[in-house]
């Protein structure tokens, strides 16, 4: 076996169609960060426990550290870079700013993507729902309370806006 086995991946990444040759063994995190330069997706534990690498594939949250890039072939990927639009921050991002829901910011992209997945399936979550859904994401600055409040606030804003 060679170490350079590759295959072609065609995927929609943040609304842009991309076709790239990727190493079969490449993780989605490597593909996003090293090949596409989308470094908003972070890596930390690389054991799908900490949640900093959370991205959405066809709307479902996955740990990009433990997910083959090959598996996004034909699918739609959303990362933190896709949240804001030219008009401004996504309501979740704005709410994280308004609620001081970050300190160092390293875990923030993962929390934002998980919160995005949560609010799509449940636009009106209880505080308990938010805590349960985000319990696979770790913040070492220990800012969990403001994060939960930020998600609940954003949910209110987003319900009002639609």
């Amino acid at each position: 076996m060679t170490t350079s086995e590759h295959l072609n991946v065609t995927a929609e990444i943040n609304g842009v169609n991309v076709t790239e040759s990727v190493e079969t063994r490449a993780t989605l995190a490597q593909f996003l960060r090293e090949q596409l330069g989308l470094t908003g997706t972070k890596l930390s534990c690389e054991m799908q426990v900490c949640g900093v690498c959370s991205v959405l594939v066809d709307g479902e949250p996955v740990s990009a550290c433990t997910y083959l890039a090959a598996d996004v072939d034909g699918r739609r990927v959303e990362t933190v870079e896709g949240l804001a639009n030219p008009g401004g921050l996504h309501p979740l991002q704005q709410s994280f700013v308004d609620n001081f829901a970050l300190q160092c910011g390293f875990c923030t992209p993962g929390f934002l993507m998980m919160a995005t997945a949560l609010l799509r399936r449940n636009p009106d979550p209880s505080e308990e729902d938010v805590k349960e859904y985000l319990d696979g994401n770790i913040c070492r600055c220990t800012g969990y309370e403001p994060i939960v409040h930020a998600v609940l606030d954003a949910a209110r804003t987003m319900r009002g806006a639609t």
Binding site: E5, R25, G51, P61, T66, A70, D135, N137
Partner: protein, 264 residues
């Protein structure tokens, strides 16, 4: 750390997948356990067979007296399926609580039990429900009870050339409760307590030892939590000592029995 190199196969049928499987060519679905084990160098396959494009492994169907769950169904899919909710609600309960939201979206029920991590939520409940698993090779098909499928940590009755195609739950499935104590990604102790359809009760204590411990009782009042706590073989680790885990086991058996009694 990068993954070691491997070849990736993407068959469209179970038969094509089975033809590829052997000791070095492993079934791959969500990858939530396999890719981690490969990264740590614990498993070194030369090839992976991606099962996610095989529709027949992803169905959940109701037979005359069994519920059949395709091995490729994700935890989320099982947790949210209407047939599972109606006929095997306890499994849906446990599946809603597996790992974290990403593991539930990515990981498959078949992968979970084939990996046989001793702290599997699914394993505990499948033993409580008298489930069997369907194993298919190029030359044979067999059905193995969950109690005989799990042989030890990371060790099952599945042979390298076999694919676990489905999980079969006999109906009516017992109703009951699933309680667990968990501080990390997997439970320290998990208890399933069910009322058996033919009468009597079953308590299954999982996660705390290498294999689930199951006991049947004629009456709920006959359940001896201290006896069960003495029978499990806890593994001391960062989530607690053996003595502590026996204590938690006893407490959670009592709570599960009280919850089952209260719900009836």
């Amino acid at each position: 750390m990068p993954l070691p190199a491997f070849t990736l196969h993407r068959p469209r049928s179970a038969a094509d997948a089975i033809a590829l499987l052997d000791e070095d060519c492993l079934a791959y679905s969500g990858g939530t356990e396999l890719l981690m084990a490969m990264r740590m160098g614990l498993i070194r396959p030369t090839a992976l067979v991606d099962l996610k494009r095989i529709d027949e492994l992803n169905t959940i169907t109701l037979g005359a007296d069994r519920l059949l769950i395709g091995a490729g169904a994700s935890h989320d899919r099982v947790a949210g399926d209407a047939l599972v909710a109606e006929h095997a609600a306890l499994l849906a309960t446990a599946e809603r609580l597996v790992g974290n939201a990403r593991v539930r979206a990515q990981g498959s029920i078949g992968g979970n039990i084939c990996f046989a991590e001793p702290r599997s939520d699914v394993a505990t409940v499948l033993v409580a429900l008298d489930a069997t698993v369907l194993l298919q090779s190029a030359s044979s098909r067999r059905s193995v009870p969950a109690t005989e499928f799990f042989l030890g940590p990371y060790w099952t009755a599945r042979e390298p050339g076999e694919l676990l195609t489905a999980i079969s739950i006999p109906l009516p499935a017992p109703a009951g409760v699933y309680l667990k104590f968990q501080t990390v990604e997997r439970p320290t102790v998990a208890v399933a307590a069910v009322a058996l359809p033919e009468g009597g009760y079953r308590i299954v204590v999982g996660a705390v030892g290498d294999l689930p411990v199951s006991a049947d009782y004629a009456q709920l009042t006959a359940v001896d939590a201290a006896d069960l706590a003495a029978r499990v073989e806890p593994v001391s680790d960062l989530t607690g000592s053996e003595r502590y885990k026996r204590h938690v086991t006893e407490v959670f058996v009592r709570r599960a029995v009280a919850a089952l009694a209260g719900g009836r």
